[in-house]
Symmetry: C2
Subunit: 206 residues, 2 copies
């Protein structure tokens, strides 16, 4: 396996190109049906270059997963610093990440290949859902500290919030990629979910 020694900006650019192409092709066809020729073509790179940067199809797949996962969750990372004003903002921000077509494609790919790449499934669960869940828990705890919410286990409350808001539209989107729920439909589930959550967990339900 001949790796590149030093990474010039030009090489980093090429690496990005390849990873982007890999995401695109793998997402569309799945691991097995995606061909390295197709990825090379999409990346506008020759096949030997592909193998120079990433030794094999499996390695490319795993590298792509790690890279894309981080890119995907980047916007969420940043927001965890700023203080969200209320649950609605929080929920919408969350929905924006999870319901993005690229995120859904990746999730579909991961679920579909989970049996063949158990490490990737586990890593995704940690870096994706679990991390987002931590964010929710942290937020809910601050609300609990302010006596606005009441619960025993933060994890369960966070799971409930997630489930109430996004379970229905996300599952549907996973099964039917070509008919993603509209913003209005998402809003319907989101508002109802929040209403239920508040009724169950708020100390002063309106």
């Amino acid at each position: 396996m001949n790796t590149v020694r030093k990474k010039s900006p030009r090489q980093l650019e090429k690496q990005r190109q390849i990873l982007n192409a890999a995401l695109k092709v793998f997402s569309e066809f799945g691991f097995s049906a995606a061909s390295m020729d197709a990825i090379a073509l999409a990346a506008e790179v020759s096949k030997p270059t592909l193998y120079m940067y990433f030794g094999s199809k499996e390695q490319l797949f795993e590298s792509m997963m790690v890279a894309e996962r981080d890119v995907m969750l980047e916007p969420f990372e940043h927001s965890s610093g700023e203080m969200v004003s209320d649950l609605v903002d929080f929920a919408w921000h969350y929905a924006d990440v999870v319901m993005r077509p690229e995120y859904l494609s990746l999730a579909r790919l991961i679920i579909g290949e989970a049996q063949r790449f158990p490490d990737i499934g586990r890593a995704y669960q940690k870096a994706g859902p679990d991390r987002l869940l931590s964010g929710i828990i942290a937020y809910l705890e601050t609300q609990k500290a302010k006596r606005r919410l009441d619960f025993d286990e933060g994890e369960l409350a966070a799971q409930d919030l997630w489930a109430l808001i996004l379970s229905a539209p996300r599952n549907q989107a996973l099964h039917i990629p070509d008919q993603p729920p509209s913003t209005a439909q998402i809003a319907r589930y989101l508002e109802n979910g929040l209403k239920v959550f508040i009724k169950a967990y708020s100390t002063q339900p309106e």
Copy 2:
């Protein structure tokens, strides 16, 4: 495409054998990576026989999907007749179906191939989640009629119940096939979910 004319019990038996093998191999490898040779081997049938019963790989895949889906949902079908005594029973019955390893495998397969087989994704949504949802709605409506529950839209209430009970363990199981949640873990989510649901929807929360 040379189909078999009359179906002797022996042929039906063979058909079952093939479909079972197809489920097994497709579930393990996904559509593309599964080979017809492997399926023939698993079914203890020759490859030409495979092609005699099901004209092509895609046809076999689709037939298997339809057949397995129906088998999978059979136990649920029957139970909708008998009157479930309370929500806990109902939830457990539901969890038993959805968290079965074979059901999860099939769901993983469908999600992974949804982009390549949009019809199958749509059909599954209708025959699986949507049908189960109808069952929940029907049950909730009877409770509403008895003034035990209160809600505006049955669909939303049913989605909430589903989400609260099974969203968390199911998602985790989809990502991490080799570590399915234990009965105790399922119970934890289920009991908490029911508690929240009752608090939000019951007319007389305990």
